[in-house]
């Protein structure tokens, strides 16, 4: 997105800020065509950007949206952490929530937003996506960066693969999701996840935690052994399946053991540099914080038996774990609680694992985790394009036993806690990052419209690839002559 003009490069700043709308793209193009003088061009772009982005200050132009002091007045405020405020005010300033409550003094320079009939929620958090690592799964391999080659890729970092300009970001955030965990998938050790806010022109502008966890696609016991289009699925027997799983787990354990040795060698050399210098190995280097238990590891596992296998691995290797999936995690509630292993549940939009499981087994799984006092959150587990359904997935769990309060927490405060960012995210409290969503109803209801959206205190336009197409085609008439 580098616009070349008069032999000079106009990059960073103006253009990325404009690139989100095709309308602006057209204008930039037009501006390239008609302007010969760089100076007047710059003035023109400044004018355009201020027109489009509503009073962006020059220092402010490297991101979408605009900074400011905002006061949403007279709204229902669902803080999530504390009691609901039926009629209150929330002040957003310097990227954080400056004040929230029923009686809050409004700064003189604040832009006032009438909150009458509106409800304020904390931005939602999807703790399990491939956001930014994939644009189109089928037929556009060039846009897919989810899985590295091979099985052992601890050094692959989602942070460096996330495309800050994926259309999925806008599409997701206009539904009130403001922060996601993006992770690589596939292989055995898939790589490392990142926690990002859904705004920013660069990965560093987006990142909250650039490297959050290791991701392990934990081997499952499955008798499925490939598919033949003529004879159907190939199967092995159950014992073979268990053995295959155990062999794969052994591969992961070997990597952990090697990483422990690696860390020990590094430590020994640090103390005594007369020892042979240990060579640096990027994969091993990446593993060190995880074998030492300094950072968590996300293990994908759905069935109780797979979760039991993860627990055994965690006990053997003495690492910190988070379960990703967890369809049957509630069956292992006690063992998971004992070890403080939380669950990022991603099965609302999945069928029951077995034909004779209750039809609502996945819908009601969160309520069972809640009843068991487990630490869990709800995630879409989506590649990114459909992560915008996060609130409705939580809503569905709310129809099957989970309290409405818990349903909302399971996509706000609970994921923040599991991701270790609850000091800054997940609820509307003074001092927290101003990821704030203002809606005209219950945010978990698919009929509700988002009216205002703030990420790190920036008010963002409610536009996306989808609203652009909508604007372009909504009033289209039959051409003359008709086809």
């Amino acid at each position: 997105m580098t616009v070349r003009k008069s032999g000079r490069t106009v990059e960073a700043g103006l253009v990325p800020a404009l690139r989100d709308t095709s309308f602006s793209r057209k204008l930039v193009f037009k501006f390239q065509m008609v302007n010969k003088h760089l100076f007047s061009a710059a003035i023109f772009v400044l004018f355009l950007s201020s027109l489009l982005l509503a009073q962006n200050g020059p220092a402010d132009q490297n991101q979408t949206g605009r900074e400011g002091t905002f006061a949403i007045i007279g709204a229902r405020i669902v803080t999530v952490s504390g009691a609901e405020i039926p009629n209150g005010t929330i002040v957003i300033r310097d990227g954080v929530i400056a004040a929230v409550g029923p009686n809050v003094s409004i700064p003189r320079n604040a832009e006032k937003i009438d909150g009458k009939g509106l409800t304020v929620f904390p931005g939602m958090i999807d703790a399990g996506t491939n956001m930014g690592l994939l644009e189109i799964g089928g037929g556009a391999r060039g846009t897919v960066d989810v899985s590295e080659t091979g099985d052992i890729n601890p050094n692959a970092k989602a942070y460096l693969g996330i495309n800050p300009h994926t259309s999925h970001i806008n599409v997701t955030r206009v539904n009130g999701i403001t922060t996601v965990l993006s992770m690589p998938s596939g292989g055995l050790i898939s790589g490392q996840s990142a926690i990002v806010n859904l705004n920013g022109s660069t990965q560093s502008e987006m990142a909250e935690v650039p490297v959050f966890s290791l991701v392990i696609d934990f081997p499952t016991v499955t008798t499925f052994s490939g598919f033949n289009p003529f004879s159907g699925p190939r199967r092995i027997n159950f014992d073979q399946a268990v053995k295959r799983r155990d062999d794969r787990v052994k591969e992961i354990k070997d990597v952990f053991e090697a990483a422990k040795q690696y860390a020990r060698a590094q430590e020994a050399y640090a103390k005594d540099n007369t020892l042979p210098y240990p060579e640096t190995d990027l994969k091993m280097e990446s593993m060190v914080p995880y074998v030492r238990g300094e950072k968590p590891i996300i293990f994908s596992a759905q069935r109780a038996r797979d979760i039991r296998a993860v627990i055994k691995f965690v006990d053997d290797m003495k690492v910190r774990a988070i379960i990703f999936g967890g369809a049957e995690a509630w069956e292992e509630a006690e063992e998971l609680k004992k070890r403080d292993i939380p669950v990022i549940f991603n099965d609302i939009y999945q069928n029951p694992l077995s034909n004779d499981d209750p039809y609502d087994s996945n819908f009601s799984s969160p309520s069972k985790m809640s009843e068991a006092g487990m630490k869990f959150c709800i995630s879409t587990g989506d590649d990114g394009s459909n992560a915008r359904d996060l609130p409705y997935q939580a809503g569905l769990a709310g129809g099957f036993g989970l309290s409405k309060d818990d349903a909302l927490k399971s996509v706000t405060l609970y994921p923040a806690q599991i991701l270790g960012i609850a000091d800054k995210y997940g609820s509307l409290d003074e001092g927290k990052v101003a990821n704030v969503v203002v809606a005209d109803g219950d945010i978990l209801d698919p009929r509700t419209n988002i009216k205002y959206l703030f990420i790190k205190g920036r008010m963002l336009p409610l536009t996306s690839r989808h609203t652009e197409f909508f604007e372009r085609y909504k009033d289209r008439k039959l051409s003359d002559p008709a086809p």
Binding site: I136, A140, T223, Y359, G399, R476
Partner: protein, 467 residues
Amino acid sequence: MKNHLKAILIGISLLALLCGSALAQNTGETLIKNATVLTAARGTLENTDVLISNGKIARIGKNLRAPNAVVIDATGKYLVPGIIDCHSHAMLDAINEGSLAVTSMVRTRDVLDPTDMTIYRALAGGVTTLNLLHGSANPIGGQNTVVKLKWGHPLEDYVFENAPPGIKFALGENVKRSNFTPQPGQSRRYPATRMGTMEVIRDAFVRARDYKKKWDDFRAGRTKVPPRRDIELEPLVEVLEGKRLVHAHGYRSDEHLNLMLIADEFGFKVATLQHGLEAYKIAPEIAKFGTGVSIFVDYWGYKLEAYDTIPYNAYILWKNGVVVSINSDSGERIRRLNLDAAKTMKYGGVPEEEALKMITLNPAKQLGVDKWTGSIEVGKDADVAIWSGHPFSPFSYVEETLVDGEVLFDRAKDIARRSELKAERERLEKLEANLPPNKRGKKDDKKGGKDENPEATPDPSKGGNKR
């Protein structure tokens, strides 16, 4: 292993049959009392009773009396027409006959499985009717079947006899086979481009027109020699005669437009554009041709030709007067079509009843069955669901689903039977025939099979053996 699975499957199907017969009780009169009725035709009726008699909606009104009826108290609940999914592959043992570019001779009717668990899960989501479509491997695919979800009934009862016959067409990436490589030994099939796709369809209808001419000549006595019967072209002649509905899978708007133009050239109308993810780009043209569109409400981006869709698709089509339905094309999404319909209120602002029609009356119209189902009106089949709250709220769930007046899903009973089914499963798993071959005859050997052993020993005294 095979026997193990087989025995479990047999067990499941027996359970399914038991389940079905246990539920098959109200074939006479049922009176649903004091519901909020979303008619999907004449607005919302508060505190209203609906009397079902012989599988039909007999009366709708306040304080209805029917002394012999089974009464369902629906106070505080919503009575909603059964959802109709205009694009499903449930129950199909095979979906694609993809060896030829034109497979109009094959019938989904021949491969229906009445024990597919998707049926029950769909009923639990308030769904009562499905359009079972052939896959999208070829420009002209096989014949579809419209079924009612008569869970527990014999297969014959599922088939919606009044539904006009139909056929699947397909365009774009799947037809071109661009997203998968041919298997070893499999030849590359024509067409490989969107150009070729249109020519395959044109060629098929040229042949069908010639074939029809031969029969017309024979029937009019112009020739004494009867034409040789051609089961590939027969369904296409029915299309030409307006007797068979065309359901055309496609994504890009230009392709769908070209298909409608070819249809126009041959004098027929495409009944539905299936998927039609870009239909909003040509909404006025679709309206002009009188073609319906059956879409995902907002599912997108999974392949290149699904990249230009928008969740406002339904709204733009609706505003242009196009009959829109929202389908699942999935054994998972089929369970929550209510929430998909609700989304159209958010994305653009479709009015509530119009949104509801997109999963009830509109698909009924598209399938030619709106005379019998799709709304709550006197005289129609009693295909309805009782919801705990408004079906567009994510916090609502289906309490009971009735097909032709018969309760085929009952959440309370489902929950009540769970422990019994669990015990039955555990008992079946322990049967000699269900053990993997290497476990038979050494049941007590727990070594090496730790993961396999059921966690609890079933107590035979606690039921589970109903046979």
